[in-house]
Amino acid sequence: MGPSGSTPNQIPPHPSNLQMHESDRTAIAAVNAGDPHAFRALVDRHSRYAHRVAYRLTGNASDAEDVVQDAFLKAFRQLSRFEARADFRTWIHKITVNCAIDFIRARRHRETAHDPADLERGLVAEVPSSHGPTPDRALLSLEIQERVTVGLGGLTPLERAAFMLRHLEGRSIDEIGTALGLKTEATKNSVFRAVRKMRVALEPLMDVRHD
């Protein structure tokens, strides 16, 4: 990933590289032939990955689980259309993102307006101030993880969704706005606020060497 127009890691590489796993094909063929239990192989192989995708967007393990369940049900019902497609993981990734967007849109009414400045002040208070940088890589890694988690936890659901769709899914601002039902400026502002909050959360680590 890099700045200025580069495409973030939209779809992480499949473990078996570009080839769809042979057992995926076998399972898909069995389901399409009338054996719904063969679908378990696909759930076993891809649900953990789908959960990570859903969690990035929803920021909540329980919500992510609901999204994954919905995504796999949709995949099951549309599996007869899948044959010509290249890779099941790519397909389930797309379905999961769309299900997460639907989920986020459905819960938008719970989103409350915040003054970004207040949130930033709150976030600063939430970040443990006693954690100074440490040269130990393991501890540093833990601290990064902790601060990212706290930072993401300080985002509103809409900010998180807009930011993750832009940052990790590589969606354009226009696409995000359409998906989330926001105007372009509102979408940009959601991303701007999210990045600003993450910078506040991670700022103490910026002068630490990560190598």
């Binding site: 990933m1 890099g2 700045p3 200025s4 127009g5 890691n9 719904p36 239990h37 679908f39 378990r40 759930v43 076993d44 649900s47 953990r48 959960h51 990570r52 969690y55 990035r56 393990a61 992510a64 689980e65 994954v68 369940q69 796999f72 049900l73 099951f76 019902r77 549309q78 007869s80 259309r81 010509a84 990064i144 990212v148 988690t149 930072g151 993401l152 993750m164 940052h167 990790l168 601002i173 226009d174 696409e175 706005g177 359409t178 998906a179 039902g181 105007k183 372009t184 940009k188 991303v191 701007f192 990045v195 600003r196 993450m198 910078r199 991670l202 700022e203 680590l205 910026m206 990560h210």
Partner: protein
């Protein structure tokens, strides 16, 4: 973006990072080459965002796959309703999709005619004796989607051809877009049921644009109008709609059904 400061703003840097600076891309790049302070800030932003990538995933607990399967299994085992078995099994999918499309067309046209008396009547699609139920269904869907695409094209053409740099009153277009969204969604469901990926994909993309227009302010500002135009032009959406519209029209013209022609699915 109108910050009088000679330095780049946070928002400038974020848009630049994501390649969304568009109008200000040259200004930002030029400034970064010459301003050490902004370059430093930009580098810190890059490092911050890079940290998030590797640490944003929530790892599910051990045994997650079994839990998920337990949640899914009951729903996969549940007997499918008769209409779903009918839809999913065999070539009758097209007939079902066509029937659904016919109902949708009827409902939509009833509403359309009630509002716009001058609107042309829907094209009738008559089956021959040799038609199979599936082919009839497919042809009804093709005809209905073709009409829908032409109607949508006409409306979007007005947006594309509006004066540059001026606001546009889209109050009427908004209402039409809202109507078209509902129809578009139903046709997409029909195409999905029928397994027609080409129609499905175009309608999916079209829906996003229609939703955007339906939710736009009545008096669309020049910048928003330009953004909408850019969206229509990006990815060749209008071109794809025209091509599909032409293809659907061509598929309706011959008397015999297109059973021997390649399907779009």
């Amino acid at each position: 973006m109108t910050d009088p400061s000679p330095h780049l703003t946070h928002d400038d840097l974020v848009l630049h990072y994501y390649g969304e600076a568009a109008d200000s891309a040259v200004r930002v790049a030029t400034h970064l080459r010459t301003c050490a302070a902004c370059r430093h800030d930009s580098e810190r932003l890059q490092r911050t965002l890079a940290l998030i990538e590797a640490n944003a995933e929530g790892e599910p607990p051990t045994g997650y796959e079994a839990t998920m399967w337990a949640r899914l299994k009951g729903q996969l085992d549940a007997p499918r309703p008769w209409w779903r078995r009918l839809v999913n099994d065999g070539p009758v999918r097209w007939a079902m999709a066509g029937t659904l499309a016919a109902v949708l067309v009827g409902a939509f046209m009833a509403g359309w005619l009630a509002r716009e008396v001058a609107a042309p009547p829907p094209a009738r699609v008559e089956a021959t004796d040799t038609d199979t139920a599936a082919a009839v269904g497919k042809r009804v869907l093709v005809a209905a989607v073709g009409q829908h695409l032409e109607r949508t094209q006409m409306m979007l053409a007005e947006v594309l051809n509006a004066s540059h740099g001026a606001a546009m009153d889209v109050a009427v277009d908004r209402a039409r877009a809202a109507d078209l969204v509902a129809t578009n969604r139903l046709f997409q469901q029909s195409a999905e049921l029928a397994g027609d990926a080409q129609i499905d994909d175009v309608l999916e993309e079209l829906e996003r644009v229609l939703v955007e227009l339906a939710n736009a302010p009545a008096d669309l500002a020049p910048a928003d109008l330009d953004a909408l135009r850019a969206r229509l032009e990006r990815g060749g959406l209008i071109f794809r709609v025209r091509v599909l519209s032409d293809q659907l029209r061509a598929r309706q013209e011959p008397g015999p059904l297109d059973q021997t022609k390649g399907s779009t699915s």
